[in-house]
Symmetry: C2
Subunit: 421 residues, 2 copies
């Protein structure tokens, strides 16, 4: 297809989505629930068809020599289908955020002022090889009353189109517009270029993928993105830390899973407790296969650590490496995080109420923890039911973004003929 | 100055603002209040100096043949100084939004999850000839813990620099960083270009001014804007409207002030009540000097009305002109607003609960009223204390934007050593 044809196809998707979004905004919660449950049933009924489409994607990917991790993410196993079904049922069971009214104020002239939660409108999701995102994103967008345009990786196109069938059937079964969820059918890159600039039809884009993909998009997008680039997360062990908690939290923050964005990348330790805490913690991390890179004072206590450079303070390893720095004060820890952090998730370990309060007040990150490992950065853990992504934006949604982050509000005012004089 | 010098000067302002914003974030509410009250006192003390600076601006503007309306907006009268002083004292008295915690959820593992309200960071305000915006914007940004960079019209530069002195003195008196509020000192247009693209130092821009200014900015900005372009506001008189309320509301919505963005631009009237309501209402509006442009059915009832074209449905007149259309149903009214409206403020007049609820639910505007004129679109009327502007964005703040719209939140989680397993 020519770029022009692709752009025209995207415009049509956009117009269809806008139209569907107008209908979805006023769809009753019961219809949305029915659609989600019908999708879950359709996946259960059509495992064979879905896996056959996926097998073709996986074979093509293997022929293109995709690496093992990518192949793993691409594959629709029985278990990943089970998780999709379970996910759909969970989202169906969440409370409908749309139409709820906040507190009502009565103004001196008697008029009533409140905010009503409403859908954002049309959401574009751009993601890489995981086909399960197709279902997760469709479910969250639908539940929050938004139309969705989904653009997955080209290597997962057959799987995504098969899943789109399931979604369409669910929508139809509930009497909802078929264009409420659309999958981009072309692998052409021009499709993304159009999607992220089509401000008249798309209200927000949620990109999910590597930092390279997202920063390219951020540079070119005209549609607002809900996104994060880096998760350079810190744990600071304060002078007043409980040594056992500090050990457990720091170890868990690094080793729970190296690849998640909430994984700790730099450990800051107050000099007053470094001698008692660092050697044992370092030994445990080294035994687990974690490479340590430390400042000079760290290396006096942990000779196995390699010297850290400034680049280490700036790096999100997403792997078995940890930067370690000894600091003298809480202020120094807060300053290090302000200078090198990415505003994602940072934690303090302390029994000192004042230090805990100062850290939570002064560290300017989307999530700030006391006595918890940074790996709790996840919408489900926060009680949001599910998440579409994690945001380090300052406007709109921040941190894990659940259904509420996919909505906005409008002001509803009710009077009895009051006039402005 | 060369463009490069201007850009370098803007970068320095940006860096200073970011630094000041870090300090402001943790400033106690009492210091911010002290600064605002000191600014009010300083204006009272320095009326002569301020009016002398303003006199030079006004003379230059007169020499440049600025029109009377612009000259009026530019002039700092005794009354406008009084209003600034009063405004500062009112903002000082508002509750500090920063640091407040929302409801705390306790998760099954015992960790506590809450949201803390925090400043956005650095806010850029770009405005035209009114020097009072310098004080209003400085006050709202400071109260909400944000650093501000203010860029007023070149015709008001001397006035704005004199007001900036007052602001600096207030900040100093309260021990707050002087760079918390900075005024751009160059009239060079390259300054705006840099301001709206300096994403590393500016978190949000609030443009205040004409549609031309704002749409140019929206096309070039990389920093998010809190803005609205049009206020093409509608009043729909439903079949179940109380005729007296309908008359009062429609008349007030048009004639309260032609130039405000909440002014009614199109009146929609249900055919069932058009005969009983339109002729009398039209006579009152015509008597007030309002030109009417109507659909055919309107013109049968109001022969003085000129024929309306599609362009009339699309136009925000901001003047003594009103478009009028007779519709057969609530659905037709809602569809007209969806097609032609600008998502700003729209109202229904009805005694029918079902019609009121459907209108408020289905009209997708920032503010949707029942039995109130659209001219209530104002932060003060909503109980926000004051407003920095009105937003028709879908993300972040919508409708009148007060102190809360200048803040964001962070997640604060507190545990006791819980781990993720």
């Amino acid at each position: 297809m020519s770029t022009q044809t692709v752009e025209q196809a995207m415009l049509t998707l956009g117009e269809n989505a806008r139209q569907a979004s107008r209908e979805l905004m006023r769809a009753p919660g019961s219809a949305k629930t029915r659609a989600l449950l019908a999708m879950a049933d359709a996946i259960a009924d059509r495992r064979k068809t879905l896996q056959e489409a996926n097998r073709q994607d996986v074979e093509a990917a293997r022929a293109n020599a995709l690496d093992a991790a990518m192949l793993d993410r691409l594959t629709l196993s029985e278990r990943s289908l089970d998780l999709m079904i379970e996910g759909l049922r969970q989202v169906a069971a969440l409370p409908d955020p749309v139409g709820s009214l906040g507190p009502t104020a009565i103004r001196p002239n008697g008029m009533r002022v409140a905010q009503m939660r409403v859908p954002l409108g049309v959401i574009g999701i751009i993601y890489e090889s995981r086909p399960n995102v197709t279902i997760d994103a469709a479910a969250l967008c639908l539940k929050s009353g938004n139309a969705a345009i989904l653009r997955g990786g080209s290597e997962a196109l057959r799987s995504n189109l098969a899943l789109a069938e399931v979604v369409r059937d669910g929508l139809r079964a509930a009497g909802l517009p078929e264009h409420a969820v659309q999958v981009v059918e072309t692998a052409d890159r021009a499709a993304v270029g159009k999607l992220i600039t089509m401000t008249e039809h798309i209200d927000v884009i949620v990109p999910r993928g590597g930092k390279g993909l997202i920063s390219r998009m951020a540079a070119e997008a005209r549609v607002p993105l809900i996104k994060h680039l880096d998760g350079n997360c810190h744990v600071y062990i304060d002078a007043a830390a409980d040594p056992e908690k500090a050990h457990g939290i720091a170890y868990n923050a690094k080793t729970y899973r190296y690849g998640v964005c909430g994984s700790m990348e730099t450990l800051l330790v107050n000099a007053a407790v470094a001698v008692s805490i660092l050697p044992r913690l370092a030994a445990a991390l080294l035994a687990h296969g974690v490479e340590l890179r430390g400042c000079e004072r760290t290396r006096e206590l942990v000779p196995q650590a390699r010297p850290a450079t400034e680049e280490d303070w700036a790096t999100e390893y997403l792997g078995p490496i940890l930067a370690v720095r000894v600091v003298d004060t809480l202020d120094e820890a807060i300053a290090h995080i302000a200078r090198w952090g990415s505003g994602h998730t940072d934690a303090i370990v302390t029994e000192d109420l004042g230090a805990a309060q100062r850290f939570q007040r002064e560290v300017d990150s989307a999530s700030v923890y006391v006595n918890l490992p940074t790996v709790f950065a996840d919408g489900y853990e926060y009680g949001l039911g599910s998440e579409i992504g994690i945001s380090t934006n300052r406007l709109h949604a921040r941190g894990p973004v659940g259904l509420e982050g996919l909505t906005t509000y409008k002001w509803v005012l009710t009077g009895d003929g009051q006039l402005r004089g």
